[in-house]
């Protein structure tokens, strides 16, 4: 008899299966807004037929001057599986389009006679999804910034996200707030827009009518995560930025340098804190740590001498040894922080198609799809 994992591996085998959104047609006009393009890509992975009006400025965006088959790396990934069309094709496509993705900013498509009110009259079934910095919903700021393009960095900043990231104890400017290492605001904006498009599609199946979905990159992280609003409401002050002490849980939830490399440590509940001090060989520090943590809110420096002592001990222990001890004890969760190279070489992610190898003149690695679905597996569309 097959074990559970073997059965599931078979169940999730993607070959020969349909996609969930087969027959759904998407037209994206995103300009240089990658939040919008990510929404189109996610819908394409779920099987939608996506037509894109490319913007050469977006095609050129890359890092370190790396281009693959003439396109920058972000476009290489987010352009996958999309059919390139021209502006002149838009009118003829519109009658068949289920979802129109607009990343140009408020009023820009309207200047071309393609604003939502006009299109809704002509195509009542159309689902119009907009992604922009401050939304199309008419606010003073949406009007003030209607002509300013979107960016991920400013999205991370305006969402209150960067204010919580980085190490304020470092010398300037390393002490400044930093960014998440990926386009996190655009990833959330794209995921939100895809979710909005599908919610509207589901509603349309019941009512026959399309609608307008509006995503704002500058609020998407702070409405998805409840902490920025919730903490400020409850505490009446901003949370403190700390690379080691979690600002919500007030526990050690951190990366730390072990003897040979970084580890991630999650001591969320008391038995985990106790276990942590046991596995580093300093059980007597647990109570001291607990006392210091209760003072952190009033006096953030109260814990610093002890923190220094604790992490100096961690620094003497090899990372794998810490993991081994935590697994032996059953807690707390500790993991070696994997380098990109290690992640890319793991069979696990290849088997799951989370990271794939593609052949575009040369063999390249690329993000695959996170949509592991038994009946309608996500598609890893070819980038070239």
């Amino acid at each position: 008899m097959m074990d559970r994992e073997a059965i599931l591996r078979e169940l999730f085998r993607p070959e020969g299966k349909p996609a969930a959104l087969e027959g759904v047609k998407v037209l994206e006009i995103c300009g240089v807004n990658f939040g919008c393009m990510i929404a189109g890509s996610l819908l394409a992975e779920l099987g939608a037929e996506v037509h894109t009006v490319p913007d050469e400025r977006a095609v050129k965006i890359t890092a370190d001057e790396v281009y693959i088959e003439g396109v920058g790396v972000p476009y290489f990934v987010e352009g996958r599986g999309k059919k390139r069309v021209e502006w002149r094709d838009v009118e003829s496509l519109l009658p068949q389009v289920d979802v129109l993705l607009d990343g140009l900013g408020p009023g820009k498509l309207a200047e071309r006679g393609l604003g939502y009110p006009d299109l809704a009259k002509r195509y009542p079934q159309l689902i119009y999804v907009a992604v922009s910095p401050f939304g199309h919903y008419p606010t003073a700021k949406a009007r003030d910034y209607a002509n300013v393009p979107d960016s991920d960095l400013t999205g991370q900043a305006y969402n209150g996200y960067m204010a919580m990231l980085g190490n304020p104890s470092l010398p300037e400017p390393y002490s400044y707030p930093i960014r998440a290492g990926i386009w996190l605001a655009w990833a959330f904006a794209g995921a939100a827009a895809a979710m909005g498009a599908l919610s509207a599609y589901w509603q349309r199946m019941k009512t026959g009518r399309g609608t307008f979905v509006d995503v704002a990159t500058n609020d998407v992280l702070s409405v998805d995560h409840p902490y920025q609003v919730g903490a400020a409401f409850v505490l009446g002050v901003a949370r403190r930025r700390s690379p080691t002490i979690d600002a919500n849980l007030y526990v050690t939830y951190t990366t730390a340098r072990a003897k040979d490399r970084f580890v991630a440590i999650a001591t969320v509940i008391w038995p985990e804190i106790e276990a942590f001090f046991e596995i580093i060989g300093r059980p007597e520090l647990a109570e001291k740590w607990r006392d210091a943590m209760t003072q952190v809110e009033k006096d953030p420096d109260a814990i610093k001498p002890l923190e220094k002592e604790v992490f100096a001990v961690v620094r003497e222990i090899p990372a794998e040894e810490l993991v081994r001890r935590s697994r032996e004890k059953g807690k707390p969760p500790i993991a070696v922080v994997k380098t990109l190279e290690e992640v890319a070489s793991q069979v696990h992610w290849r088997q799951r198609r989370a990271i794939v190898e593609v052949n575009c003149g040369k063999k390249l690695l690329s993000p695959g799809t996170p949509y592991a679905m038994s009946e309608t597996p996500g598609r890893v569309n070819p980038p070239c």
Binding site: R4, E5, L8, R9, L11, L21, L46, R57, I61, F76, G135, Y137, T139, S151, L153, T154, A157, G160, Y161, A163, E172, P173, I178, R179, A180, G181, L184, A191, A192, G196, L198, Y201, T211, F212, V215, A216, S222, V223, D224, P226, Y227, V229, A232, V234, V237, P243, N248, Y250, A264, V296, P333, A335, L340, A344, H348, W349, K362, S366, A372, M373
Partner: protein
């Protein structure tokens, strides 16, 4: 949570926020009668979501392979760190472990001669981004089921959801590793976080040639510095440090270059734009009273979406759910409580009704009416 201030009228504040618009049932499925009751609910469910360690629910007869026999229409979601199959699938996870295993921590921090540090991403994106992706997968599965009548199993991995947005893998194989980025967006020729004359942080990202050119009209020495991110940083810092935050923001609007303040929690809460848009909303919850909550992830014309009620204590909706889903009377529900099949909150701090609450005066708790 939040230094002991994390309770709002007896409820843990994160629990209160994370569980909006849900119905709370306290059911012991380890008991035979509880298991049968849960199966009756599963027969009527569209979607089943679980986040136990892989294989745990199978041991209770509640895995996908078992429940699809009961309800072939069911869309079943398992959320875990590594997914349900693959060599690493048995390992447990938290957000931080998913982050460590995905590689995303190796992109976040500094990798310079002076500073070599990496950090977790705050506020648990290893939970929030995957769950946002999962909702799309569920909606797609519902659309597919409507057409075909077939349910399915969605296997969500926290780490894989983060990896989806890591272009670093392409660079690694095309040219070489992208260094951890600090406050620079590596895809923008001009970017970073800068300090203004009034001591505020501001983020600037000129993504295109046109934006760089516009900024270069204001920032002396920018053209000459292009290609060297620290040199670019110094000339833009020189420019920004001579201006108040509002002047830098005004330049962004005028030049059509993305420039925004690095906001704190309080800035977010007080931002007039958010109140005008509905990204921050004051609601009057039937049980917990006035509370400020984040607005919906997107706005949808003609649809009233967002928080209608915040979390309830465990078991609070026992009678209502059993009545709505299975037609049980309050007396039948009470019988299940007496037999320890159904239960309620146990007085644990953080999972309580508000002070002064009276069960007999609460029609929703009694199953007599719905929340809204």
């Amino acid at each position: 949570m939040w230094g002991g201030k994390g309770f709002y009228k007896g409820m843990r504040i994160d629990y209160l926020y994370l569980n909006a618009n849900k119905y709370f049932l306290g059911l012991d499925f380890r008991k035979e009668e509880g298991y049968r009751l849960l199966i009756e609910l599963v027969k009527k469910a569209d979607v089943f979501v679980e986040n136990m360690e892989p294989g745990t629910l199978d041991r209770y007869g509640l895995g996908y392979l078992q429940l699809r026999e009961v309800n072939p229409w069911l869309i079943y979601v398992s959320a875990s760190g590594y997914g349900q199959f693959g060599p690493l699938h048995r390992l447990p996870s938290y957000d931080i472990i998913g982050q460590a295993e995905s590689g995303i921590m190796d992109t976040t921090g500094w990798e310079e001669d002076e500073v070599d540090e990496l950090y977790r991403l705050p506020d648990y994106p290893g939970d929030w981004l995957p769950s946002t992706m999962a909702v799309s997968a569920v909606l797609a599965a519902l659309i597919y089921r409507e057409r075909t009548g077939r349910g399915q199993y969605i296997d969500l991995s926290q780490a894989a959801s983060l990896q989806r947005f890591m272009y670093h893998f392409v660079y690694m194989s095309a040219s070489g590793r992208l260094k951890r980025s600090g406050f620079f967006d590596p895809f923008a020729p001009v970017s970073g976080v800068f300090k203004t004359r009034d001591g505020k942080y501001v983020a600037i990202a000129a993504m295109t040639e046109g934006q760089v050119k516009a900024l270069a009209g204001e920032v002396a020495g920018l053209v000459e510095a292009l290609g060297d991110r620290w040199r670019v940083f110094r000339v833009v810092q020189e420019w920004a440090s001579g201006k108040m935050l509002e002047e830098v923001l005004e330049a962004g609007r005028r030049l059509k270059v993305p420039i925004q303040p690095v906001m704190t929690d309080i800035d977010v809460l007080r931002d007039p734009w958010r109140w005008e848009r509905g990204s921050v909303v004051r609601i009057n919850d039937r049980l917990y009273g006035e509370i400020v909550v984040p607005g919906p992830l997107f706005k949808m014309a003609g649809a009233d979406i967002g928080v209608r009620w915040v979390a309830r204590p465990v078991g609070y909706h026992n009678k209502l759910v059993l009545k709505k889903w299975l037609g049980y009377s309050p007396e039948e529900a009470d019988g299940l409580v007496q037999r320890d099949v159904l239960g309620y909150w146990d007085g644990q701090p953080g999972n309580m009704p508000p002070p002064g609450w009276k069960a007999e005066e609460d029609p929703v708790y009694q199953g007599e009416r719905d929340e809204v």
